[in-house]
């Protein structure tokens, strides 16, 4: 009744695309988290009006469609003659995009640590660095981790947009197969299943962590 021309080779092709999706996600989230940590600490540390330029720039990344950011970055690197590949360009754009959201998460988590706790730490003779790493970090991590997991999954899903720059990630690979085999529904269902399998277990884990940690508060 149901027959398909999809071969094992084609599935491997999709798997390779999924690998590219994961690679982009990994670089973007790693870079974005590092920048987000830095910016978040800065934003939590200095006065709001002093952080205004930083807030404004990061806000742009959240208010302009990612697709347009990718196209602009790619056009800019061509104009400036950097000669970097679309893969690197998209990793950089996605990292900046991630950092904009991560900054908010980090800032919120740091501000969720009660000021009295931090004063107590300082009055016990801990330096600012010790206070940050030994007191604030463990407490803020509990607040931040569920949102950070959500952000990571969001970036993985948004990374599908890099197909516009001609990168063969999961969704683009499925398009290639659809063009060849003319079975759009079936191939897209497999693609969707791959995305779902990558995202759903981690989303569940995040949800469970959130519930579990809330009990202790």
């Amino acid at each position: 009744m149901f027959e398909t021309d999809l071969s094992l080779n084609d599935l491997m092709f999709l798997a390779k695309g999924a690998g590219v999706t994961l690679a982009i996600t990994f670089f973007a989230v790693t870079g974005g988290t590092l920048m987000g940590l830095l910016f978040g600490v800065i934003r939590a540390q200095i006065k709001p009006w002093m952080a205004l330029p930083l807030t404004f720039v990061l806000d742009i990344f959240r208010s302009v469609p990612l697709l347009i950011q990718l196209i602009l970055a790619n056009a800019f690197q061509a104009i400036a003659g950097f000669g970097i590949s679309p893969f690197v360009t998209s990793c950089i754009v996605l990292a900046l995009y991630t950092s904009a959201y991560c900054t908010e998460i980090v800032r919120g988590a740091i501000e969720a640590v009660p000021m009295v706790t931090r004063r107590a730490a300082r009055s016990l003779g801990l330096t600012w660095g010790q206070d940050m790493t030994q007191i604030v970090f463990p407490m803020a991590l509990r607040v931040a981790l569920p949102s950070w997991i959500g952000l990571t999954l969001g970036v993985m899903k948004d990374s599908a947009l890099v197909l516009w720059l001609g990168i063969f990630e999961l969704l683009k690979s499925s398009q290639v197969l659809i063009t060849r085999l003319q079975e759009p529904m079936f191939i897209l269902l497999i693609t969707g299943a791959i995305y779902f399998m990558l995202s759903f277990p981690i989303a569940r884990l995040g949800g469970r962590l959130e519930r579990k940690w809330k009990e202790n508060d």
Binding site: I60, S63, V64, P65, L66, L67, I68, Q69, I71, L72, A75, F76, I79, A80, G81, L153, K157, D158, A160, L161, L163, W164, L171, S174, Q175, I178, E183, P184, M185, F186, L188, L189, T191, G192, Y195, F196, S199, F200, A203
Partner: protein, 221 residues
């Protein structure tokens, strides 16, 4: 290194065209939000119901909408349905994809809001002689929309940004589509898309500012 002359005048001359595109963008965003909110209310009720036959499809909808890319959902509407001989135009496919996505995310927002409404409110309504549907409509729903107003407006901004994905299925009347058309004609990619980015930014900020104003005007006690 930098032997490129920017041609901003071309981009500025195309501004009226792009603003027309922005109107289409807004139209899709508003429609997709209206459809999304309507479906999300039903999904939220279904997910909270005790019947498994109501809960399962609603849960499936929400999990698929939240765990696959929005672009995939739009592709599904545009290319996927072709397998059944249903060919949606880019406009309808984009609208369907975003509405599907909105409904999934808004359902969770609404469910969170429902949890914040005390069960005694419904009981009070029922004891006044209202039926379950009437109590939900007149007592629970207004409070639900009030509590979830700002997250809902956040989703509206998301919907606006998501409309830019239409260009990947051949949409050429919304802001990104118009920009892409101009780009294909002139190859001034940076200038045109920079203009589009500014317009998107202003729209997103205006919506958020409007939402804050409405929240401040309406939801004071």
């Amino acid at each position: 290194m930098f032997d490129y002359t920017f041609q901003w005048r071309q981009a500025i001359r195309a501004l009226p065209q792009m603003l027309d595109g922005a109107l289409v963008t807004m139209q899709i965003a508003v429609l997709s939000m209206a459809i999304g909110v309507t479906i999300a209310v039903f999904l939220a009720v279904a997910r909270n119901s005790s019947s498994r036959w109501l809960r399962a499809p609603a849960t499936a909808w929400v999990e698929v909408a939240r765990n696959t890319p929005a672009l995939f959902q739009i592709y599904m509407a545009h290319f996927g349905l072709g397998s059944f001989g249903i060919y949606l135009s880019p406009y309808i496919a984009l609208l369907a994809g975003i509405a599907f996505n909105n409904a999934g995310y808004l359902c969770e927002t609404f469910r969170g809001a429902l949890r914040a409404i005390p069960a005694t409110q419904i009981r009070a309504g029922r004891s006044l002689g209202m039926g379950p549907a009437k109590a939900f409509r007149l007592i629970v729903m207004p409070q639900m929309f009030r509590i979830s107003f700002l997250p809902t407006m956040n989703q509206a901004v998301w919907a606006i940004l998501m409309t830019s994905l239409g260009v990947t299925v051949g949409m050429n009347s919304d802001l990104t589509g118009v920009t892409q058309d101009l780009n294909a004609r002139t190859f001034r990619t940076f200038e045109f898309f920079a203009m589009a980015a500014v317009i998107y930014y202003l729209i997103a900020k205006a919506v958020m500012l409007g939402a804050r104003l409405i929240a401040w005007r309406m939801f004071r006690y």
